[in-house]
Symmetry: C2
């Protein structure tokens, strides 16, 4: 097994304090590896980085059109949003349009990661709902497909038609038989593939023709970066910094993917230790490498060569991307 490659270094004063390593693959539209670091054959769970694959049956089945879903709703279906008002309101409207309520979601409750919403809930002595869960947009998509397929309420069950359709789409775009699944944070199955397989899936999205379901999804993500994550978040800020040319999606445990339609390339990467700061540094470095992200953009400099500040605002160190990624 190939060892993980250097991803990032955390320096404090003159000392190297922590190090991150990981695995990354850049794939072209033919499915061939253009560049790789670490082990392309590593079996991974892409977690929320696979949300556009999980949204594919929603479009392919005709459900998205039957329910008149907008590009905003398609972006939310691919999102790990932070439960800001814009996300809660948009998913709420969608849910209402389906004639459903919070109890119909099969994801758990999660406190909003948006400071204003979180504080408002605390002041009102309200408990977080399932709609605040970062995956509620994906689940609104699942519920829409459930209605379209006339499936039962238990739509996170691997045997449910929605999840069977997700597996079929996953194996189609990764061009692999999945070796199985883990249960995700939101209780849906998350299918495994090799890192190469996930990168190949992203290249497949990148190369898909303009009116294909794949293209409609990555276009929606690129049109609405603020819906895919939220203010201050890596996906949102880096998509804006790439001028809408790249669709980006993070996943739990240090996952990140990129879809680059203009170049017909896909990227999948995984920080071995599962930390977001390592995955964010690595994706920013690779986007700079490919010439689609300005190394000096503030959104870039927040993730690589990022000053680390302490409680009093003093700069105490820096996060440097590994030279091999740039």
């Amino acid at each position: 097994m190939t060892a993980p490659a250097p991803f990032a270094e955390i320096w404090r004063g003159p000392f190297l304090e922590s190090v991150h390593s990981g695995h990354a693959v850049i794939c072209d539209a033919t499915g061939q590896i253009v560049d790789a670091w670490g082990n392309p054959d590593l079996v991974v769970l892409p977690r929320s980085s696979s949300k556009m694959i999980q949204a594919l049956p929603l479009v392919r089945s005709g459900a998205a059109d039957a329910f008149g879903l907008t590009t905003r709703q398609l972006a939310l279906a691919c999102a790990s949003h932070q439960g800001a008002q814009i996300h809660v309101d948009s998913v709420g409207d969608w849910l209402k349009g389906l004639g459903l309520g919070d109890d119909d979601f099969r994801c758990g409750t999660e406190e909003s990661r948006d400071r204003a919403v979180m504080e408002a809930q605390i002041r009102a002595h309200e408990k977080p709902c399932r709609i605040h869960n970062n995956c509620s947009g994906k689940h609104a998509g699942f519920l829409t497909l459930t209605k379209h397929l006339e499936g039962g309420p238990d739509y996170t069950n691997p045997d449910h038609p929605v999840q069977r359709a997700c597996l079929e789409a996953f194996e189609d775009v990764t061009q692999q038989t999945s070796p199985g699944f883990g249960i995700d944070g939101c209780s849906a199955p998350n299918y495994a593939a090799t890192l190469h397989g996930v990168a190949r899936a992203m290249a497949h999205f990148a190369a898909a023709s303009d009116d294909s379901p794949e293209a409609r999804l990555h276009q929606a993500m690129r049109l609405h970066p603020e819906l895919v994550a939220g203010e201050g978040r890596a996906c949102t800020e880096l998509m804006k910094a790439c001028d809408g040319k790249v669709a980006l999606k993070t996943g739990a445990e240090g996952f990140f993917i990129a879809i680059l339609p203009e170049k017909g390339l896909g990227i999948a990467l995984k920080a071995a230790c599962g930390t977001s700061r390592a995955a964010e540094a690595a994706i920013a470095a690779l986007l700079v490498r490919l010439g689609v992200l300005d190394a000096n953009h503030p959104a870039t400099l927040k993730r690589i060569n990022a000053p680390i500040k302490n409680w009093d605002g003093l700069v105490t160190g820096v996060l440097k991307p590994a030279a091999g990624l740039l």
Copy 2:
């Protein structure tokens, strides 16, 4: 340079999702290495794991006795507390006793990590103060020593008598000339040593005679585990699980130390990637290995072989300690 050794594995369903590695040293009272994993000569910043060393001048100088400090105050001087009411009240009384206020602290402000205090502040539209900073107990110690030494207000400056005394104590107990420092989260200098040097310092504390300043500090920590961290936290829960026989202290970026007076041993470890879950798993595994922690205690099982639950409370995976540590 010796590569880091396996520390922990994160499994999700049947898949190994993330891996952690790091460096660890167990040292005896003569300063010799009893056991080591990874690189004992790694230069590290022990961060908050060195707080009992930073509190040593407070006792050695006679300041602690001159100001009549209690064991509770000595425990707080060594603490990274979570800003619960018990911590804020205790540090507040100490500060008041010195005739000082929140503005005299040189640490920045930090939101309380205690849910009740955090919510109360949000409801009252109050901003966090410096006293809520997890290091405010250490800083109350610094202010006490400043008074005793008649130093100026800028007590986090490396040239201030307080920090010069901290460096002297650090080099004394690590038995090394420090190669320099980084600025810590609370703006105080944090001196570097090899991991072996830090483990040697902890063994020095462990072997110190009963009425020595070193013993007074680790006794205070073991007497008041709830003051050293707080409810639910690793230091507090594992110290209780060890029946007060071991002093434990975490540090930022994946550091952990243990002082074992009955065995005359010290432990220092550092997760290479800087994550707390890896450091907590490793220290729990080593305490089990040394026979001072029950492998089946709930506090142990929260850190190793810990079920990972999702937003809906479903068990989705497990954190397993590396076999080599046990």
